[in-house]
């Protein structure tokens, strides 16, 4: 037991250890940033290092009154003894903060170790209705509808107001930061901000739960994530208790569920509010739109925001990039910044030297925390140093280089080019010629959906031993062997190809049914020669991907059945990439119509609400992807001159 933890255990201020600690005993690294800290700090079981300048942090539980009388619980951690006036950094989350994990995080090598060593007053607040906070919890609570109402921004305002007035020896400056849900609350802090709020860092915040983040992508429902998450969050409010599947075979378990709309009642004997919202709000209505932070944040950016995203964020990659893009429109004063690193969800809070089998060339997470995040808060909260922050700090995968960019995406030395899907499984920068086979066809059987990982790796994502946090590193080659996955591959590249910026698919497709999902993956195929390490040989590495639910071809708000046999041109956003396809590698594309149980199955016949589809509604259909001169399916990429 380390010194710090030992000292805290005897601290009479802590009265709430039992519930909080129990909740955070979960392995839940992909959601709650503080939890990720433990993986990054394997040495924390040893004595506190002598070089930890502030030596020690002491904590205190407080209840902070909101304008409506509800009191929110927070832990205040500050260096002791403290004789300087320090700024405040607040994190607001629904996941609960365990004192043990905080203690680890604040140590040298911990996920907040650099900031802690510099000296701040840390405030960890349970948001309304969660753990020891009073009030009612609402997932991604929308903005208040009346002048006297409350929302996360008013709760943030009231909290900051109380903190700067009541905490001894604070310097009157505050910041809000956080990852994931905490990134969303950090974004919400910029709305009608408290005057003491000098900076935020919104890290991996969701933006749009229907279009690109946790619960759905382009209208396609993220089944395992959504079910696992809402059942864990929406239980008694005081715990994070994952649903008990009774099986580790997530693929089989979900395939056996026939009536998704009533899953909560079937398995829990009660309605889970968000689950029923997913059923009720099957299309893109105000339920989804009202929680989008960048549509609520001030058009003119007033609070400096360090936005952080990870290329391999399996939960919220769309969010931070979209928030950055939308805020950039009103960033006259240059306060809106972007960092994109080679990380999974919250991966920058760990060492970040590798992702799955891919070495990253340096400790990218350590670099971010010490050379980017720390100077950011030193500058805005303490007035120390200079802000040597490029507009966009972007990690280029493949070459493993950080790039300091004047904009994101880059505007210079880049040209958009199409990678055409050609007959015979060829991928080429040259468009198809007349006379080539017009289409590639496959049978899509909802009874045999394409797994999103090798089936033996598909544990429900919160299950013990789940490797969900690295699934985007999985070798995609086995899926290319499937009859119901189409595959196009370039010749080996004669020279490096660097892409930087937008990636999108234009897919000309038809179905024999009335609805279909379209999944597109852009891949980097490693050589199969003996010079390549065995685990990477022939490996198909995911570079960009997403899914589109066909019924939303015309409108996310008003879906329509597809006309059987009609060739439609789908525009599918594959978001962004900054990657070097190395000489000798190949570029490849996979297209499929299921991705299970990441995405729920599309019945491929028309039903008004897919979550209410019955077993008999799921039909085998034949799908075609076209590659004629008139219907030239392609992936557009932005080819850049390598910065290196």
């Amino acid at each position: 037991m380390n010194f710090l933890r030992h000292r805290l255990a005897g601290n009479p201020f802590f009265r709430l250890v039992a519930t909080v600690a129990a909740a955070l005993a979960l392995s839940f690294a992909s959601l709650a940033p503080l939890l990720a800290a433990s993986a990054a700090a394997p040495a924390t079981e040893q004595a506190a290092p002598a070089t930890f300048a502030s030596e020690d942090y002491a904590g205190e539980d407080v209840m902070i009154p909101m304008r409506d009388g509800v009191r929110l619980h927070a832990q205040i951690w500050r260096p002791a003894p403290s004789d300087a006036e320090l700024p405040i950094i607040m994190m607001r989350s629904p996941y609960g903060f365990s004192k043990e994990r905080i203690a680890d995080a604040l140590q040298q090598g911990g996920s907040y170790g650099y900031l802690a060593a510099d000296g701040y007053i840390f405030v960890f607040q349970d948001i309304r209705g969660r753990f020891s906070s009073e009030g009612e919890y609402v997932t991604l609570r929308p903005r208040k509808s009346t002048a006297g109402g409350i929302d996360e921004s008013t709760d943030t305002y009231d909290s900051i107001d109380w903190l700067v007035r009541n905490l001894p020896e604070n310097n009157g400056k505050a910041a809000v930061m956080g990852v994931s849900y905490g990134g969303w609350t950090a974004a919400m802090a910029t709305i009608d901000p408290h005057p003491a709020l000098k900076a935020v860092s919104s890290q991996a915040s969701p933006e749009d739960m229907f279009i690109g983040d946790d619960f759905a992508h382009n209208g396609a429902f993220r089944l395992d994530y959504a079910w696992s998450w809402v059942t864990a969050l929406e239980s008694d409010g005081k715990t994070m208790k994952p649903f008990q599947f009774g099986s580790e075979d997530g693929y089989d378990w979900y395939l056996r569920q026939s009536d998704l709309a009533t899953l909560d009642e079937q398995h829990l004997g009660r309605k889970v509010p968000s689950w029923q919202n997913f059923v009720e709000h099957k299309d893109y209505d105000d339920y989804w739109k009202r929680s989008r932070p960048s549509h609520m944040m001030p058009a003119k950016v007033a609070v400096p925001n360090l936005i952080v995203a990870g290329w391999y964020d399996q939960e919220d990659f769309y969010g931070p990039l979209e928030i950055y893009k939308n805020q950039e429109k009103g960033d006259e004063d240059g306060l809106n910044y972007l960092v994109v690193g080679p990380w999974n969800h919250g991966g920058w809070r760990g060492e970040g030297a590798s992702y799955g089998p891919f070495e990253l060339g340096s400790a990218t997470g350590t670099y971010f925390r010490s050379e980017v995040e720390l100077p950011w808060f030193q500058y805005w909260l303490k007035g120390e140093g200079t802000l040597d922050q490029p507009e966009a700090l972007v990690f280029e995968t493949g070459s493993n280089q950080w790039q300091r960019l004047a904009s994101w995406p880059i505007r210079e030395k880049a040209v958009s080019r199409n990678l055409y899907l050609r007959s015979g499984g060829k991928l080429s920068f040259e468009p198809p010629q007349a006379g080539e086979a017009p289409a590639a066809t496959f049978v899509s059987d909802p009874a045999n959906p394409v797994p999103y990982r090798e089936r033996s790796d598909i544990k429900p994502f919160m299950t013990k031993g789940s490797t969900w946090s690295t699934w985007l590193a999985d070798d995609q080659s086995s899926f290319a062997s499937r009859n119901d996955v189409l595959f196009w591959e370039s010749d080996p590249l004669p020279a490096d190809v660097t892409i930087s910026g937008d990636v999108a698919a234009k897919l000309f497709a038809s179905t024999t049914g009335n609805d279909a999902d379209w999944v597109v993956k852009l891949l980097d195929v490693y050589p199969a020669d003996e010079q390549t390490p065995a685990e990477l040989r022939g490996r198909q590495r995911m570079i960009a991907n997403d899914v589109f639910r066909g019924r939303y071809y015309k409108s996310y708000e008003n879906p329509e059945p597809l006309e059987p046999g009609a060739v439609l041109g789908y525009d599918i956003d594959l978001h962004y990439a900054s990657h070097v396809f190395k000489k000798g590698h190949r570029i490849a594309v996979q297209v499929q119509s299921s991705w299970f149980p990441l995405i729920n199955r599309n019945p491929q016949t028309w039903v008004p609400n897919i979550l209410q589809a019955k077993a008999a509604d799921y039909k085998v259909q034949t799908h075609s992807i076209y590659h004629t001169p008139d219907n030239a399916s392609a992936i557009s990429v932005t080819v850049a001159e390598s910065a290196n």
Binding site: D252, L255, D445, V450, S481, A534, R537
Partner: protein, 632 residues
Amino acid sequence: MKKTILLAAALCTTPAAIAFSAPVAAQDYSKYSDEALKSELADIADETLAVLVPMRDGIGLSTNIYTPKKGKGPFPVILWKTPYSEHDIKGGTLRYAIKAVQRGFVFVVQNERGRYFSEGEFEILGKPQSDGYDTLSWLAAQEFSNGNIGTLGCSSSAEWQLALAGMDHPAHKAMVPMSAGAGIGKVGRFQEQGNWYTGGVPRSLFIPWLYNVDNPLRAQIPSGLDQPTRARIAAYNSLAAAKPKVEWKDQIRHLPPADIMSDLGEPEGTFDTLIARTPGDPAWREGGLYHEDMGWGVPSLWFNSWYDVSIGPNMELFNHARAAGKDKETRDNQYAVIAPVVHCAYSKLGRDTVVGDRDMGDTSFDVDGAIFGWFDRWLKGDRKAFPASTPHVQYFNMGENRWKSAPQWPPATAITVRFYLRSDGNANSLYGDGKLSTAMPPADEPGDQYHYDPLNPVQTIGGGDCCNGGIVIPGAADQRVIEARNDVLVYTSDPLEAPLDVTGFVDAVLNISSSAKDTDFAVKLVDVAPDGTAWIIGDTIQRARYRDGYDEEKLMNPDQVYTIRPTPMTTSIRFGKGHRIRVEVTSSNFPKFVRNLNGGGNVATESKATVAKNEIHHDAENPSYIDLPVVE
């Protein structure tokens, strides 16, 4: 030595239900903690721990002896030998110890040579013919022993018994080998060399298994310590190695396969020795494996299971013992129980059993009743305890989900029904045109081709496997994820109009050709439910170079047609009405089996992978088919 401390603890913690000594069969020990059970054992047994039993070469094997307090000796003895850390008795061993002592047996747990508190150098299965024999002699001579000894155990604790059975030790009155695949060298059609190979293809399971078990640089206590000192040390220091965790799903892909262990920084050990042996290497005779020319001397009650590593060799050995036993009594006293579970999972038998993802219904079987009845019969001479009228083979029929019995394996009523692999040349994946039909193919029927890329092997999902560091989860699982692949040929029958009960050995015969000098052919039998779920029933694999036997490696000429006959699958499955019978053919089943890289060289040391274009022929002259043993 009496463990008074434990006894005192038992008075406080033993649940009343146990203290009142309810009938053995009524007790469910699984609900008690190891701690409570240890107290229970200390309550009823005198414990002498970490005794060094001397072997003929002077090496001592550390042995725990649990002698009944109740009753008057000498007692019959049940011996449990293990390579695992069971000196601090726990789990299944502990539960058997309590039951044995309660029924008036001395229970003995011995560590294999070279493990934990035993002296000497480790080898797989110990040295059953010498160490096993010497241990029996020593036990038979002890005052607590009546000279009748039985051997009991699952997996490693069963496999060493096989070669010992060949020694026909006079005190070795009976044995209960449970899930004993890795003890079988060459018996009948199977030459698996202790499950190292199937059809000449190495299994991966020993790689994670040996990583944990083989420990050539092990810690040992000083020699020459007296028993009380050894027992005292054993109470607080298990000598167990805690090796760094390995991500086996990744590591198993390392090439060449022979370097998988050294790549982890492991010192040279058993793996390096065994991976260098071909399936026909005479060196396999040197270890503790049982081979068919060793003779069989002991009445045996066999427990096997459908989803174990090696149900085929298990049943071949059972038949061998019935035929080759030293005398009529031995031959007549071989009984087999075949459960629908995975390796050593007999404690799962009960109501509502699910194996893998498949519901097997009520699989209840009184395993302990059979075991101790068997030992009462042979070690105490109580002939009624295990009546001679007991069926020789009791097996669980999957599909019908019912226990059945037969006087022999396979049941004599089985008739062979041949199903031909048929297609119009595109049996690739379950979206192809492959059919399984009783009609012979015409002369000009085209074969089915596929490309086998060793860098993109067909993954294992379920089936029979064990002990593999988690890289394969054994059991009945839906195979459709595999059958969607274009490099998997899928042949499916029409829906059955009436149920078809397939019970026995299932033989596949394939006429094949390849662009490679050597490649593998993997066959799988699948039960397709009306909803499309494709349950794995069994699988087998054959390396082409061993198609005519294991003593000679015969590479292929490109595109010449050869006949291969993989060793049979073994099962009892009732294909229900409306179900379909399916056969998959492909060239890999990874990571269960080490991949063939198609180079034709030394597969263990090769690392260059070549894509092979393989073909299954099924014209009239070169038919490919599967023979199903159908019983009424």
